[in-house]
Amino acid sequence: MVTKDLVIVGGGPAGMAAAISAHENGVKDILIIERDQYLGGILNQCVHTGFGINYFKEVLTGPEYADRFIKKVRNTPDIEVSLRSIAVKLTSDRTVTFLKPGKLETVKAKAVIMATGCREKTREMVHIQGSRPAGIFSAGLVQKLINIEGLLPGKEVVVVGSGDIGLIMARRFTMEGAKVKAIIEIRKETRGLLRNMVQCVEDFGIPVYFNHKISRIFGKSRVEKVSVIKVDDDFNEIPGSLFEIKCDTILMSVGLIPENELIEMAGVRIEGDRTSVPGIFVCGNSFKIYDIVDAVTEDSFLTGKLAANYITNQ
């Protein structure tokens, strides 16, 4: 078994900031386990701007923001990075098992920081009635398909929920020549940032239906249409308000959930701003959902420092 002072699971903005901070605070033997083929996490597919305004006092794209940290990590020989590596097991004695092509490895660490990010809520979690054809995507998947893979998922789009990624992808779809026919938001106001409502929606003339919800999805092979119904502030349906929108694609942007399965499997609980097991830390979106990456960076710098203190005091 390999040993390390600090193992960080996740090489996105949270994991990288935690690694840099731990190193600045004296930890010299750090391993970052990253499941993707590059560092940077979800920032790599966020090609829009708006990152770094608080932290760098500059307006950056996602990849630019990530790049500043990637350079720092890469220029720090004490921080080892294992790419295409997926952690499959964490135990409360701070042992992490991960797989990568050609290898299964177990690392025992003095401290572990979990920076595994979050996942999107799905259509299944918000219970939309109807069929299950092709053409229903989470916003993050659409972002990946368009920005990384160069694929256009659909031509006539209805966005469900007004979370930031949903608003940003509504604009992205429009710029790619697709028609965004509606953004449907069950609440009376947006869940996203005001600047995204202005820059992504109003500037592009995309209709937004607040106090509305999708009542049913239609289509056997591919999405054909949705029916939409008005709701009151307590989400009760208003009879007689049903109407239909023809579309071939539904984009779900209904919220994010911290991705904490490894911590749960290890029997570790998150209690306030720390975990129930000394030496195991959680930061970034796997700790809680942040609106902006700058806040993830701040949180993770703090966590890196806490982990360094823990290691020093052992």
């Binding site: 499941r35 083929q37 295409r84 997926i86 499959v88 097991k89 098992t97 797989l99 990568k100 092509p101 050609g102 290898k103 299964l104 996942r119 999107e120 799905t122 259509r123 299944e124 979690m125 219970h127 009635q129 109807g130 069929s131 299950r132 054809p133 092709a134 989470s138 993050g140 998947l141 990946k144 398909l145 990384i148 893979e149 160069g150 694929l151 256009l152 998922p153 659909g154 031509k155 790619e176 049913r216 999805i217 056997k220 092979s221 591919r222 071939d248 399965e261 749960e264």
Partner: protein, 487 residues
């Protein structure tokens, strides 16, 4: 043109079971399926329960074939190397009157030959099923109930049938059948098949197939069932299949342990008209949730990660398995609803006998390959074994689906074994079926499918033509060489 001895219409669990059984004999067999992949009809939404045989009247075909099938599936699953877990089931009673009903069911099932039945009391239940509603007073315990993955069973049967010479034709929708003595001419959407015997195992469409030969004494009515799948984290919520006392039309809403660990609750039972309506509803969800909570009160709707609907092909109270004298050589195997999956190996034997009784000469092949190599699933594999697998083939360490721990190697193997669509990959590997619902792995799996099948990424579908995942490839449109990120 080749004349087949037997043509089987419909490659669900019934059709593939019959094909695999007949493959023991020196016969030319064609298995025709209208969908792009096998098990894409009724079988794909089967709950995977291997029933012990309770709740069928002693004189019924269902009862007899279910008990026999429950026995046969054990050997079959070993031969095909598909996991069968004998979890046992509990039919629960909330009061004295229901307990008396359990005794009646027990007696009736014993006449059918269901083994090992036992009435268990509250103490037993508290020990063995601690999450069960505290108001339950007794249960009928049937140890021979179990679970199997319905699609992996179909794919295992089909792969083994092909190994033994059966020819499978997908995307072959039968549009007409003409009896021109002594053979049948089957006219599908493409091609023409001639066969001496025709077996109709066309599920929801069996009545339409039968009608083509003037045999129209039954009608298939779809009965919809909505099912809701819980996160694998809740694997130990229940240790047995848990059933309420049955009603006339269904066995009620059950707590099901699925073959891969996720608990499932459902199904509803609603008679509908449209044979393609697989939609789910709020009312179905609410009904299933409240009924399931009557069995296990702690079920949390936040743990539901997926749902789907299936259609049972109902043709009256019992199965219809008949040689039709009106069209000699034509055998209907229709109305195979619950317990059809359990009964399928017994149905295959029965159909073989009917063929024999009607003049088909059955000569055993010199060599029949009964065994199928085990398919590797990392999620079932202990880490030490995974380590060895990765050493043997590095791509076992290349994880594509993180929720269900599926490697690139498993996805590629699934495509090599016959998966053509995203759903085909999902049913074979479990990739795309976890809590993120494909948000993270869809792009990668599309690329693997396109590469392995040598098709354009825009031709990758969810479940066949018309269900393409994406509309355009920007790199291709711009005339650029593929600039895609790594597969």
């Amino acid at each position: 043109m080749k004349t087949y001895d037997v043509a089987i219409i419909g490659a669900g669990v019934t059709g593939t079971s019959i094909a695999r059984e007949l493959a023991r004999y020196k016969l030319d067999i064609a298995l025709l399926e209208k969908e792009e992949e096998l098990a894409f009809g009724v079988s794909k939404s089967n709950s995977g329960i291997i029933h012990p045989g309770i709740q069928n009247s002693p004189g019924s075909l269902k009862g007899r074939l279910c008990v026999q099938g429950n026995f046969l599936i054990r050997g079959l699953s070993k031969e095909l190397n598909i996991d069968f877990k004998e979890s046992g089931e509990l039919i629960i009673a909330f009061n004295e009157e229901e307990t008396r009903e359990l005794l009646r069911l027990k007696k009736e099932a014993e006449v059918l030959g269901v083994p090992g039945l036992e009435i268990v009391d509250k103490t037993w239940l508290r020990q063995n099923e601690p999450n069960l509603n505290a108001d339950v007073v007794a249960a009928l315990y049937a140890p021979t109930a179990g679970i199997i993955s319905p699609y992996r069973l179909v794919y295992g049967l089909a792969e083994n049938a092909v190994r033994n010479g059966v020819e499978i034709f997908t995307e072959t929708k039968v549009e007409n059948i003409i009896y021109s003595k002594p053979n049948f001419e089957i006219l599908p959407s493409k091609g023409l098949f001639r066969s001496r015997y025709v077996i109709n195992s066309a599920g929801l469409f069996a009545d339409e197939i039968s009608k083509m030969l003037g045999v129209d004494y039954f009608k298939i009515r779809p009965r919809k069932g909505e099912e809701f799948i819980l996160d694998k984290k809740k694997e130990n919520m229940a240790h047995h299949l848990i059933l309420p006392l049955p009603s006339k039309t269904s066995k009620g809403v059950l707590i099901i342990k699925t073959a891969d660990g996720n608990p499932m609750i459902g199904p509803t039972a609603e008679d509908i008209e449209d044979k393609e309506d697989l939609s789910t509803s709020d009312s179905g969800f609410n009904k299933v949730l409240s009924s399931a909570r009557r069995l296990i009160p702690s079920i949390n709707d936040k743990d539901i990660i997926a749902y789907f609907a299936g259609l049972r092909p109902v043709a009256g109270d019992d199965f219809i398995i008949n040689h039709e004298d009106k069209a000699p050589g034509f055998i209907n195997v229709a109305g195979i609803q619950s317990p059809g999956l359990t009964a399928s190996p017994a149905i295959a034997l029965l159909v073989t006998n009917i063929l024999k009784d009607n003049g088909l000469a059955l000569k055993k092949k010199f060599i029949f390959h009964a065994h199928r190599k085990r398919t590797i699933h990392l999620f079932q594999s202990p880490l030490l074994k995974t380590k060895k697998l990765i050493k043997k083939d590095p791509s076992y360490g290349d994880i594509v689906c993180r929720c269900e721990m599926v490697s690139a190697k498993e996805v590629r193997d699934a495509v090599k074994r016959g998966a053509k669509t995203m759903d085909g990959v999902k049913f074979r590997t479990r990739a795309l079926s976890g809590r993120c619902h494909g948000s993270f792995c869809t792009a990668r799996i599309m690329k693997i499918l396109a590469e392995e099948r040598k098709i354009l990424i825009t031709s990758v579908t969810k479940r066949g033509k018309g269900s393409e995942i994406v509309k355009e490839d920007r790199f291709l449109l711009s005339g650029a060489e593929s600039a895609k990120s790594e597969v």
